[in-house]
């Protein structure tokens, strides 16, 4: 586990190690982890800022109830991080306020 985290893992060598990134930083996870659990284990506390007032929030219930753990996972915004299992190489980003929408894709001229 990353230094700076006060969370530890049980001694369970059985689980496969996986790596993912969070806001560009490499995070070590284990097979079976939810994204939110892996981040917490790595010492991440804040995973988004709210669209209402911009304050920081982190996962709260870990069981899909509260929607505090919304993150961008492999390019998809506002995904519940506690409900998605880590896959090798996953790219996770924190959400800053409301999700965004791109303009129309310009019509291809070729």
């Amino acid at each position: 586990m990353a230094s700076g985290s006060n969370f530890h893992r049980l001694p369970e060598p059985e689980y496969k190690r996986l790596t993912m990134t969070f806001d560009g930083r490499t995070i070590e996870a284990r097979s079976g982890d939810s994204v939110a659990a892996a981040l917490i284990a790595a010492g991440v506390t804040v995973t988004r800022t709210t669209p209402v007032s911009g304050v920081s929030r982190g996962p709260y219930c870990m069981m899909g109830v509260c929607f505090e753990c919304l993150m961008e996972i492999d390019g998809v915004q506002n995904v519940q991080g506690c409900m998605v299992q880590v896959r090798e190489g996953m790219s996770v980003r924190s959400m800053a306020g409301a999700r965004t929408v791109s303009d129309a894709r310009t019509p291809g001229d070729g």
Binding site: P51, N78, A98, R99, S102, D103, A104, P107
Partner: protein, 386 residues
């Protein structure tokens, strides 16, 4: 026979009923407004809040213009902004033939002397709605329309009516209607009420009274559906519709998207409820996907349906009874009565107090339907007796 205890009994305290009650009380009349549930429980409290002139039926044009004028000073009218914000309404054309249809309407409007709807070409459309799919060829734009918060509007009308002296009775259905002296008696579970006149503003249930008077109309209940998404960063200013699909699409200031369309859920007016049908919501989602493909991973967080009375000619009944003196109707607003509510109350008060309205309401007569329309109608509603 003693003088009736009320000058007017308004049956139904949705927005139209409240607007009537407010305008009547401001004429100095003693008014009671009854609702079998509570104000805003039905269409008036759960609609899309669109304050739209765009695409209105010709017969509604004078009314919609007059209503918009009140909307722009709604705070003066009822003491609250009702969440009204002015914004453009846009109806997009996705093909040349849709553009032709829209432009034909614009010509017709010009003939009638209206210029509130304008054509905008594809570039202008893209400038105003950068996120729109590239195949859209143009649109009709109506500047100066807007939207408001429906439940807040109902509450504002309710408070304004109360302070103008209206008595509002909730959980008080009108059960039966009978002549009493020079006026009418309305039976309710809270006892009989006597009034000089009765206004039928019962929305989807309007026919229960019309039928009791022997002048039923072919009004059918519909469960109109809406859905709302999570918050998105601002990307859409106008309210958007489409020429070839039923869609009403807007982004609130808080970032959420409201998606509506003509697709209907299950209407059960006799049980006082409606339910969404996922088939219809799925079609609305496809429509949004066609116009804004980049919204595919946006999440819908809530959907609902509200009951509305639909008429075969897509316009409401407004005006005096054709059968009985002292009874007036305003119901069956066909999914676009929110915008009209401020003016209906004015019209009804004029009819009662002055015997006529300054606005043309001939097209909304209750006896405009042929017997054939009536035979075809199928409304499984409970009856009230007369």
């Amino acid at each position: 026979m003693a003088r009736p205890s009320y000058d007017v009994i308004v049956v139904g305290a949705g927005l139209h009923g409240l607007s009537c009650a407010l305008n009547l009380a401001r004429e100095g009349l003693k008014v009671v407004a009854l609702d079998k549930d509570h104000p805003g429980r039905h269409a008036s409290g759960v609609n899309a809040g669109g304050v739209r002139r765009l695409g209105r039926h010709e017969a509604e044009l004078p009314l919609t213009m007059a209503a918009l004028e009140i909307w722009h000073r709604i705070e003066q009218e009822v003491g609250d902004s009702c969440g009204f914000v002015a914004c453009d309404q846009i109806k997009v054309a996705e093909s040349g033939s849709e553009a032709d249809t829209l432009q034909a309407r614009l010509l017709r409007l010009r003939e009638l002397g209206y210029d509130h709807e304008q054509w905008i070409d594809a570039d202008e459309l893209r400038r105003r709605v950068p996120a729109i799919a590239p195949h859209c060829v143009g649109a009709v734009l109506c500047a100066g329309d807007g939207s408001a918060n429906p439940f807040r509007t109902v509450m504002a009308y309710r408070r304004a009516a109360l302070s103008a002296g209206v008595e509002i009775r909730e959980n008080c259905p009108a059960l039966a209607l009978s002549p009493a002296g020079s006026g009418w008696r309305v039976d309710t579970p809270q006892g009989p009420l006597d009034g000089g006149a009765v206004m039928n503003c019962a929305g989807t249930w309007g026919n229960t009274i019309a039928r009791a008077l022997g002048e039923p109309v072919p009004v059918t209940p519909a469960a109109l559906m809406l859905m709302i998404t999570e918050r998105l960063a601002p990307f859409l200013k106008p309210v958007l519709g489409a020429a070839g699909r039923t869609l009403s699409f807007k982004q609130f200031d808080n970032g959420t998207l409201l998606i509506g369309g003509g697709h209907r859920g299950t209407a059960e007016p006799e049980c006082n409820r409606s339910r969404v049908k996922m088939v219809g919501l799925s079609i609305s989602a496809q429509t949004v996907g066609a116009l804004f493909p980049q919204l595919a991973d946006v999440r819908v967080v809530r959907s609902w349906a509200g009951l509305e009375g639909m008429m075969p000619d897509d316009i409401p009944v407004i005006g005096p009874s054709s059968r009985a003196d002292g009874i007036y109707h305003a119901f069956g607003f066909c999914g676009h009565g929110f915008q009209l509510a401020p003016i209906t109350g004015r019209i009804m008060a004029d009819l009662l107090v002055r015997g006529h309205s300054g606005l043309p309401i001939e097209a909304f007569r209750i006896d405009r339907f042929a017997a054939a329309d009536m035979a075809a109608m199928d409304t499984p509603e409970q009856r009230i007796s007369a």
